[in-house]
């Protein structure tokens, strides 16, 4: 049993302040240019590759990676600051965000040298979009039930099967996917899966769109029919992908994107209640501010611990559990708190548009990247209950 939870108190170092100002200036300029509208989530091109290239040119993709691969060898805390400023501004980062957050680090760790030298610099320049191939029609949270098969052939592997709920697959350049290379064993049902790098332009890949209830197109089904993947695209140990998954997850789970997804509603709530809110609105707003501040301090603390080489796996899972529930509930809290405001408040149209959008995307927040139930299982394991 281990119930010791740790959140080191850190203050963001001075270089973060300068960087934050640079990021804000850049975003203000892009907003002025009309690249995106911070008040209108879900409008415009979420996949603005030209914008990603401009971000890459600023040195804000692959920030923590080695310089020899196009990275900038900056700290995780500096990356944190850039990530949160972009989220808060509602900037379209979908094109490069997955590559920056998780695909790049996986390649750094497991890809052969020539692949790192070829791909990582292009990620850093904002030229590449990566997707994650985990879920399948018959396996979601139960990752190790994956069936899509990689069969050994001369010089590589043939992939057959399908992945589902794959965000951005329609525009992606590469997928990092889990495929079955051997059946699970009786002793270890997690055995037999291998991580692969797949070129999305390879012959035999078909991407079918799946529309969300919000009307957005983000999800896809990706069908593989005899898709050839060369040997040097195997990432890590054959049949041993399960050993590779855990340590990266702390980065993926605890970032600011795990509680800022509906942040625009906080700003709209403040605009709606005006400078002299009644006691009900003031108290409701104050609680939300305290909860948000708490989540951010937890998330910053985890980033600081990762920077200093610790592995706060349970703390990171907690940040995602609390953070995604908070951002998911926010639309309804804002709806309740604005219920008695005059119908003619100046930002009524924007508020209602944002509420409608946030309400329709909210269910996914506690599903993507590990459901609440799975996260709580991880926390329970960390507590020594499993």
């Amino acid at each position: 049993m281990n119930t010791n939870l740790q959140f080191d108190q850190i203050r963001l170092p001075p270089e973060c302040d300068t960087l934050r100002q640079e990021a804000r200036a850049f975003l203000a300029e892009e907003i002025a240019k009309g690249t995106f509208d911070p008040h209108r989530p879900g409008h415009g091109d979420a996949h603005d590759r030209a914008f990603s290239k401009r971000i890459g040119a600023k040195g804000w993709i692959g920030m923590t990676w080695p310089k020899k691969y196009g990275g900038h060898e900056r700290s995780f805390l500096e990356r944190y600051v850039v990530t949160e400023e972009f989220r808060v501004a509602n900037a379209p980062v979908r094109s490069h965000f997955v590559a920056d957050r998780q695909s790049g680090p996986i390649l750094l760790k497991y890809a052969p040298e020539h692949i790192k030298a070829n791909i990582l610099p292009r990620i850093c320049r904002g030229e590449l979009c990566f997707v994650i191939g985990m879920s399948e029609p018959g396996s979601g949270s139960d990752l190790f039930a994956a069936k899509t098969k990689a069969t050994k052939v001369d010089k590589g592997w043939l992939i057959n099967g399908s992945k589902i709920w794959t965000s951005n697959a329609d525009v992606a350049d590469y997928m990092i996917a889990l495929f079955r290379t051997s059946p699970p064993t009786n002793e270890n049902r997690r055995h037999g899966l291998t991580q692969f790098l797949v070129d999305m332009k390879a012959r035999g890949i078909k991407v079918n769109p799946i529309y969300q209830m919000s009307g957005e197109h983000d999800f896809n089904e990706v069908v593989f029919e005899d898709v050839f993947v060369p040997d040097d695209h195997v990432l890590g140990e054959i049949d041993g992908a399960w050993k590779q998954a855990t340590s990266e997850l702390a980065y993926e789970r605890s970032g600011p994107e795990r509680f800022l997804e509906t942040f625009y509603l906080m700003l709209e709530l403040i605009r709606s209640v005006g400078s002299e809110p009644d006691i009900r609105c003031a108290e409701g707003l104050g609680r939300l501010v305290a909860q948000l501040h708490t989540l951010r301090r937890m998330s910053v603390a985890v980033a600081g611990m990762l920077q200093s080489g610790k592995e706060p796996v349970v703390e990171a899972a907690i940040v995602k559990d609390l953070g995604t529930i908070w951002e998911q509930r926010l639309p309804n809290r804002v709806r309740e708190l604005t219920a008695f405001l005059a119908p003619e408040i100046a930002n009524r149209v924007t508020l209602e548009e944002q509420l409608a959008f946030a309400t329709t995307i909210a269910p996914k927040l506690t599903i993507q990247g590990g459901t609440t139930e799975i996260l709580r299982g991880i926390i329970a394991r960390g507590l020594g209950l499993r």
């Binding site: 939870l5 808060v88 209640v273 809110p277």
Partner: protein, 355 residues
């Protein structure tokens, strides 16, 4: 709060708490006779006056040391006025007043109470919910004078103190001041006011609450691993695991936000916007965590958890009682909400991202 010295002071405190203030042992006792040797040991170690510089009669420890000690005190559900004496010493120290030995408390300890410092240099007014007033020798207080705010030290024997208790059975008294002559007093430094005292008290209570939650989590997880039902430890049931994961989440939130607020106060000179956001948020979120956490823990323990015999209530009732001290979460939420609303949407994110 990870500095070397924090560990030394906090470890010293932990040893004394374990030896003389162990909650399970205390829970079996019928009277408060344990308090005298316990307080003596704390005093000998310099803990109650940790925040008072040596030249004013204290131990001259850092704010970080004191907060670390309060975290440990929370873990032991310490039921003597240690936090109160620390804050009282801190209040006196800010005006250069010497701190006396013996347990102290602070007034006001609710945001709406005011004490008046009259032209004749006496104190009048009423403060409710003053923690441990009936067990303290002196009260450090903040009063409104015509020429500004005054910090004063009064003897509890000069005040009228009722017998009220909080949820946990600790003294939480209404104190009346009827033209009480202070033992000593001084003008408060500029920028220091009633709100600053409430914020300092709120952060102290938040740190204690986070400590209490750590113990509640540990007790509850142990129990879930031991208690068998339907041929399995109840901790093996997913429904129970989900609840324990939520309890861990609430504990984590309380630890992170109270630690952040304590760290902010320890590293800043005055009370500015950042301190206000940190301290008010800590109180709000720690109270939410206490409410949620207590309810989950009691659910896991079942009937045994709400017996007098079981130690759980020493933690749960105390952290629920602390919700009311130095401003409830509702009070601070309204204050924080008004502040944010007044600053407007454009200034909100820069405020949150200030550190």
């Amino acid at each position: 709060m990870t500095g070397e010295s924090d560990h030394i002071v906090a470890e010293l405190a932990a040893r004394i708490f374990a030896d003389l203030g162990d909650p399970k042992t205390i829970n079996r006792l019928d009277d408060g006779a344990w308090k005298t040797p316990f307080w003596r040991a704390l005093s000998d170690a310099g803990l109650p006056l940790a925040w008072v510089p040596e030249q004013l009669g204290g131990a001259g420890a850092s704010l970080a040391d004191g907060f670390a000690t309060l975290g440990v005190a929370g873990r032991f559900a310490v039921a003597v006025p240690l936090a109160e004496t620390l804050i009282a010493g801190w209040l006196l120290m800010r005006t250069g007043l010497e701190a006396p030995n013996g347990p102290m408390t602070i007034a006001p300890s609710r945001p709406s109470d005011r004490i008046i410092f009259g032209k004749d240099a006496t104190l009048s007014g009423r403060a409710i919910g003053v923690p441990f007033a009936s067990e303290a020798q002196n009260i450090a207080l903040l009063a409104q004078g015509e020429a500004g705010i005054v910090v004063a030290l009064v003897s509890t024997s000069d005040c009228v103190i009722d017998e009220s208790q909080n949820l946990a059975g600790d003294p939480s008294n209404a104190v009346r001041f009827e033209r009480v002559k202070p033992l000593r007093y001084a003008r408060a430094p500029s920028g220091f006011d009633h709100a600053a005292l409430m914020l300092m008290g709120s952060v102290s209570r938040s740190v204690q609450t986070a400590g209490a939650l750590e113990s509640v989590l540990s007790l509850t997880v142990s129990y879930a691993n031991e208690r068998v039902a339907f041929q399995r430890p109840i901790g093996k049931f997913q429904a129970v695991q989900q609840n324990l994961a939520r309890l861990a989440g609430e504990t984590a939130a309380a630890l992170a936000v109270s630690g952040s607020a304590a760290n902010t106060i320890a590293e800043s000179d005055g009370f500015d916007q950042t301190t206000f956001l940190e301290a008010a948020s800590a109180k709000i979120r720690c109270v939410e965590a206490a409410t949620e956490g207590a309810s989950i823990a009691h659910q896991v323990f079942g009937a045994i958890g709400f017996t007098k015999e079981h130690v759980l209530h020493r933690f749960t009732l105390r952290m629920l009682a602390w919700r009311e001290d130095f401003g409830s979460e509702s009070y601070w939420a309204a204050e924080l909400g008004r502040h944010v609303a007044q600053r407007g949407a454009e200034e909100f994110w820069p405020m949150v991202a200030a550190r």
